[in-house]
Amino acid sequence: MNAQSPHPSVHDPAPPSQRMPGRTELGWLQSLLANPNAIWIREVRQAARLDRTPWLLFGITLLLSLLVASIGGTASSSNISPAKVGMAVSQVFFSLAYGVVTLVGPAVAANTIAAEREGRTWEALVLTGMTPAQIARGKFLSSFTTLSLYIAAIAPIGALSFAFGGTTATETIVGFILLFMLAALWVAFGLAMSAAMNSLRGALVLTLILAIVIGPILYMIFGPAMSSLAHEHWSQLPAGLPIWLPVAYTRANFGIDYLILLVALPFVVLSLPAWFLYEATVANLSSVTDDRSSGLKRWFIVSTCAGGGLATAIPIAVGGGRAPPSDPASLAAHTGLWCLSFFFGFCALLFVGEPSGPSRRLTTQWAKTNTSALTRALGPGLARTFTLVMLLETGAFGAAIFGGVAAMTAFHKGDGVLPIVLSGATLWAHIIFFTGLCAWLRARSDSPMGARVIALAIMLALVVVPWSFAAVGGIATKQDEWLALGATNPFYVVVILGQLAATSPNYFLLTAGYISILVFGALGLVFFALAQRKAHSINVAAELHYAQLDAALAQEESATTP
């Protein structure tokens, strides 16, 4: 065409946009302002025309106002000091605001991508050439804008606490910044759920159920529970406050522990899950033959470095205090190792979604664009992915063990080093085993979900079955040696630590622990080698198939071309 003139089409593609001149020359911020994401603009426009939005905003604001004002009024009529009332009002307000963010954020975001699919507008959107990342960003921005509107509407209620005192403007502002960060996290969660589902109703229901279950758990863990730990470290902080971080920023003593525990740790805890959810959304919006791996692997590398770094630094930052193993450094080192184990276990299951190798589409693109070896290494492929996972697992565990050992050496002259090393080695061996098992199951299975279920079932069996026999045998015979059966279980660490702390350790149980480290580590590597071999044979067969297909088509083409 063109649509505007009746001249026949020419074969060249459409010229570059004149509306966005020199797009590549603009910085990302200028580009964002000059050419805002089309989905964002359209959805904000749609939201503005939704009649129920003002009523919802009004309703929520009114309810919160009445609740906070009644709590403030009741408290002020008692003998409690105004400062305490102000603090209570602030805590109630931010707790309720967290509730609003937890419910509204995922609900709004879950509505977006699934609605496009169910409303049959998704295909038209995909065919515009917008990338999955652009679509995900547009959806994120529109949902975040809507949620921000809710936060802005209820914000004045937060100022009620100033009428009583007990809280500062800085604390309130920091509280709001954290609220916006949590909002981003919940929106990212809703989007990831929405991207994984085709049914709008299913996405909404499942997202809300998970938000209702996870929200309060996170509130309790990162609220009162962490507040108590923070109080142990900084006694000037009140214990048991649900919204303690804004208070901690203004009242804790500044130092290396402040930077690590109050800046780096919250940043990592909030940003890395949000980043993961974003990458998962993009991967779920991409075709199976596209590169769904690079983004997730970038996240994995950064997360491992950050997690490994924190697991190394925190034991040193929190220092000694009591004798090991109940001193903060020792506890932090063990906690760090367990956190790394769960993180790597999750990542092993995540990367079970990897295909055996990059698709033909991707290898063609790589060849055309002269893609670097590093970019290719981050691309899809079972062998390269699990090699990376195993290397980073080993590195992170090594760093965490080093951090624990350094802290024990610095604060307790080396006392408590061996438990940390053995604990780290046991957990590392089980994680290597689990990772290798996941890789092997994936290489032999067409379905990632099937491989995940089998891997989890095997792990569960290794945890539960020998432990049950050990418990029954131990009770029946009153012999501790039965516990050695539980060496298949990563929680056998507890037995090892118990024996190390005992005045006369049972060397049979310790030896079983050492053997389990060697066996599980070796088994993991064997599974990994088998997976690599299987993936290689699959890739070779696919290449051969495509080569034969190409040859047949070329032969046919040459036969039919005059």
Binding site: M1, N2, A3, Q4, P6, H7, P8, S9, H11, P13, A14, P15, P16, S17, Q18, R19, M20, N35, A38, I39, I41, R42, R45, Q46, R49, L50, G119, R120, T121, E123, A124, L125, V126, L127, T128, G129, M130, S287, V288, T289, R360, R361, T364, Q365, L549, L553, E556, T560, T561, P562
Partner: protein
């Protein structure tokens, strides 16, 4: 010497399955540039699956599909720049006006616009006659108007190939006629249009070539005239020695209609054996005549003709004549009536060509 033009769409040995169910089985055909290509078949024949592969929305399990020389599997981004795909029953966004809807897609496609002016949106609306509805909320529009809006959308980025899946389904007769006229206009602009439908009357007046699909296979593909001739030849039993090659259906090297040798439609189109010296079989056909004269008089004249087998009164004051012969017989009937000083208003085949081809080429089996 001019280089042969690339086919707009080239499909070779396309196969796909959902679970254990083969939806596409070795589908091959070409669509040449500037054609309006009818993709016909009963519901469940595999039309939409083929179209989704063409639109880069589904990756085929086997075969090669190219749009203007670009492989849909290997270069989907390039293919998307060249195609405009209008799915069957596409949805629209709530709470946006026609203009906003098209501006959104213009931005998404990154089509050239000058400042805040969307000339291409205006042009698309004008072409599809939506200008007067530019401020209407799209969700409140009729189905016909929504189809027009979809067409306006797929034209925004100036695609060379339009892939329209059942564009006139659920439309009222007026909207169908309007869509048909619009397709003719688009063809005049040089667009290649692949149009899928199971409503033959919808396609009859606009398509230049067709592919008939049944049970995941292409039964016949090529220009309508050539398919019709092939069927006539086959009916008469004087088939030529041409043995169709399934993979190169209607390819430049084999421009005739291609017939899948593995599919056995009724009548068997693959019985083109080397011409044997047997008497030519005469085919029986029907036409509808409108003549300004009493039925009895017309009947008397026509029954005198040796090739006419029956004359009866049809609907809407037409006379249905069954005869054994071809177009020469029709000409003789008209001549006889005119010589008898009767006024012949119209002569129409009982079925249009496309319907005839479809009925003869398919067995009517649904999957």
């Amino acid at each position: 010497m001019n280089e042969p033009r690339l086919p707009a769409i080239s499909i070779r040995h396309l196969s796909h399955r959902f679970g254990r169910f083969d939806v596409l089985r070795d589908v091959s055909f070409d669509v040449h540039q500037g054609e309006i290509f009818g993709f016909i078949g009963p519901n469940g024949a595999g039309k939409t699956t083929t179209i989704r592969v063409l639109a880069t929305l589904l990756e085929p399990m086997a075969g090669r599909v190219k749009v203007l020389g670009h492989d849909v599997t290997l270069e989907p981004e390039l293919v998307r720049k060249h195609i405009g795909y209008m799915p069957d029953h596409a949805g629209v966004y709530d709470r946006v006006t026609v203009r906003e809807y098209l501006e959104f897609f213009a931005d998404a496609y990154k089509v050239p616009t000058a400042g805040s002016s969307y000339a291409v949106v205006d042009a698309s609306m004008e072409l599809t006659d939506l200008t007067r509805l530019s401020d209407k909320i799209v969700s409140t529009m009729s189905k016909g108007m929504k189809q027009r809006l979809q067409l306006a959308r797929v034209l925004l980025h100036d695609p060379k190939v339009l892939i329209l899946d059942e564009p006139a389904s659920d439309l009222d007769p007026r909207a169908r006629i309007e869509i048909r006229d619009l397709l003719m206009e688009l063809r005049a602009m040089g667009k290649t249009v692949l149009l899928s439908s199971h409503i033959l009357t919808e396609l009859a007046d606009v398509v230049t070539s067709v592919a008939i699909m049944e049970r995941g296979r292409i039964i016949v593909a090529g220009p309508i005239g050539e398919i019709s001739e092939a069927l006539d030849r086959q009916r008469r039993g004087v088939g030529t020695a041409r043995q169709p090659q399934a993979p190169s259906a209607a390819s430049p090297a084999n421009p005739g209609p291609a017939i899948d040798p593995t599919q056995a439609p009724a009548p068997n189109l693959n019985s083109f054996v080397p011409a044997a010296p047997e008497p030519e079989r005469v085919v029986e056909r029907s036409v509808k005549l409108r003549v300004l004269a009493p039925f009895e008089r017309v009947s008397a004249i026509l029954t005198d003709l040796p090739f006419v087998t029956s004359v009866r009164l049809g609907s809407m004051a037409t006379i249905q004549v069954t005869f054994a012969g071809d177009d020469r017989a029709v000409a003789m009937m008209v001549r006889s009536l005119v010589l008898a000083e009767l006024s012949v208003v119209s002569v129409e085949p009982e079925r249009n060509e496309l319907e005839r081809i479809f009925l003869e080429a398919t067995r009517g089996d649904l999957q």
